[in-house]
């Protein structure tokens, strides 16, 4: 019997880069206990600030909101190892500046939001969404979407 969407198992496209709470997801980064600098993806060796170099890094959840630094889109299907869902639909990508972390994080923009709906400086919200799926499972990745007023941080 074929699985319906509701019964599909869900798995992250990569382990340990984001929390799996679909209502309030966060990217998982790390923070240096000595100098407070942040890293994404998580840095576990030692602090990369050359003025620090401490070895104690703690895992932290990054801000789920930020300001749009820039954006673009893929009008043509990217090459493998990207898994293309046919028929290919163009999709946008956003580089979002996180205020507390003072860093810019790249991600896809959710389907249905094109570049014409984006403006540099607008507030963006992190969500989890399907990267690709097959009959049995949905593979999740982080994406950005324009923030709704009053949504959680």
């Amino acid at each position: 019997m074929a699985n319906t969407g509701a019964q599909k198992s869900v798995k992250p496209a990569i382990e340990g880069w984001f929390t799996l709470d679909e209502r309030a997801p966060h990217l998982i980064g790390s923070r240096c206990r000595a100098c407070g600098n942040y890293f994404f993806p998580k840095e576990s060796r030692s602090c990369r600030n050359p003025g620090c170099g401490a070895s104690e890094l703690e895992e932290v959840q990054l801000s789920a909101r930020g300001r749009l630094w820039s954006y673009t889109n893929n009008c043509y299907a990217p090459p493998a190892p990207y898994v293309v869902t046919e028929p290919f639909e163009p999709y946008a990508l956003a580089a979002v500046e996180l205020e507390r972390e003072q860093m810019v994080v790249l991600g896809q923009v959710v389907a249905g939001i094109g570049v014409e709906q984006l403006r540099t400086g607008m507030e963006m919200q992190l969500v989890l969404d399907t990267l690709f799926e097959d009959a049995e499972s949905r593979t999740l990745v982080w994406k950005w979407r324009p923030a709704a007023e009053g949504a959680s941080r």
Binding site: C32, F40, T72, P79, P81, L106
Partner: protein, 396 residues
């Protein structure tokens, strides 16, 4: 300046999509550079190869591959890789050995056979490699990063897609008569603006293709050169700097920038620091340049480089372009070769090709592309993961 080496010879194999073995292009370029220098292969005391990652094992050890193809002579070899900065790495390896007195004359060679379409990462499941993951998780092709920079220019500095088209049109006119360029076609603004969007706001004709090609240089000590020629073109500086922490511009293939928390912004952004290091090495500045070859992976990126190499303050590149300052006949012509817009990118050969063009210009051998009285030229680019690359050449 004492820390100079001479460029005795330059040579290239025409860029194209020839589909032949990369070694063929490298050998053709090497023989052209040797002939240009008036030297024989057996005179060469060091061969420095620029590696290619897209042609199997011979590409990883390109120096030896080219040496074998030219015929073993027993001369020492280096093979270097720095992505788009590979050419500068190979040039600098040869330059350092010459300046250290380890050899008098060296051959530098780079060549590539490029695949069709988007550059894709190396095959296999490599979940610890950000260059693989950016494709897997985001579909973030190279044009995605170019598109982000272009949109940022539009929103921060008021650049337009028409400006980007003007860069393409300018470079296509420059490269029109270059026998080594792949695309010899003088595009119109309309043709550029009618080409399809690849990664908004960039169109197909704004983005450089991937090409086959080969370039080579013969470098020597100044003493060795003076025995052969009275006024050689000289390499006055090679910059190979890495970024300073924190690098707060999103760079290919990264998912995020460095964080500025607790460290503040770097005094000089990475792209600016590449040129700054080259200028400081030779005591020259942007006001001394006769021309520049900058890495126009996209037409919009050329505008960023104007500012990064100090031709104008940030936000004024469009004015320079609109005023015709960077076109042939203008105050400071940029990409007289036609740039990547006319060549497409043959990765390990490209930074060498930039220096070949500067050499022809400084010798007055650039034909219809000639910049009158050219005396100082700068080339610049950047390799994936933070490889700075800039060469300053002088004459007279």
């Amino acid at each position: 300046m004492s820390a100079e080496v001479a460029i005795l010879g330059v040579g290239m194999h025409p860029w194209g999509k020839w589909g032949r073995n990369f070694v063929e292009y490298g050998v053709a370029a090497a023989r052209a550079a040797l002939a240009d220098a008036g030297l024989e292969w057996k005179d060469i005391q060091l061969v420095a190869g620029g590696d290619t990652m897209r042609n199997g094992y011979p590409g990883y050890v390109a120096g030896a591959t080219f040496a074998q193809a030219l015929g073993w002579t027993g001369c020492p070899v280096v093979s270097t890789y720095g992505a788009c900065a590979t050419g500068a790495q190979a040039i600098n390896a040869a330059r350092a050995q010459i300046l250290a007195g380890l050899c008098d004359v060296a051959l530098v060679v780079g060549a590539d056979t490029a695949p069709k379409g988007f550059f894709a990462p190396q095959a296999g499941e490599r979940s610890a490699d950000p260059d693989w993951l950016r494709f897997r998780l985001l579909g973030a092709t190279n044009p995605i990063y170019f598109g982000l920079y272009a949109r940022r220019r539009m929103d921060v500095y008021g650049a337009t897609q028409l400006d980007f088209a003007k860069v393409k049109v300018k470079n296509s006119r420059h490269g029109y008569n270059n026998p080594y360029a792949r695309y010899k076609k003088a595009y119109t603004i309309e043709q550029v603006l009618e080409s399809p969007i690849v990664s908004d706001p960039l169109r197909l004709l704004d983005i450089c293709a991937t090409s086959d090609g080969g370039a080579a240089l013969v470098l020597s000590s100044m003493d060795y050169a003076r025995r052969r020629t009275s006024d050689p073109v000289r390499i006055a500086a090679v910059s190979t700097v890495t970024p300073r922490y924190p690098n707060t511009i999103l760079e290919m293939p990264n998912f995020a920038t460095d964080s500025a928390v607790g460290v503040g912004l770097a005094e000089t952004p990475f792209k600016d620091s590449i040129a700054k290091a080259a200028y400081e090495q030779c005591g020259l500045g942007p006001e001394d340049l006769s021309l520049a070859e900058v890495y126009d992976l996209s037409s919009a990126l050329e505008l960023d480089w104007y500012e990064n190499i100090g031709l104008c303050p940030a936000g004024e590149a469009e004015r320079l372009l609109r005023d015709g300052d960077t076109a042939l006949g203008g105050r400071i012509p940029v990409n007289t070769s036609g740039g990547l817009g006319c060549f497409g990118e043959a990765v390990p050969a490209q930074a060498m090709a930039q220096v070949c063009e500067l050499t022809w210009q400084l010798r007055g051998q650039a034909g219809e592309r000639q910049v009158e009285g050219a005396r100082v030229g700068l080339s610049i680019n950047q390799g994936l993961f933070g490889h700075g690359s800039s060469v300053i050449v002088t004459r007279g």
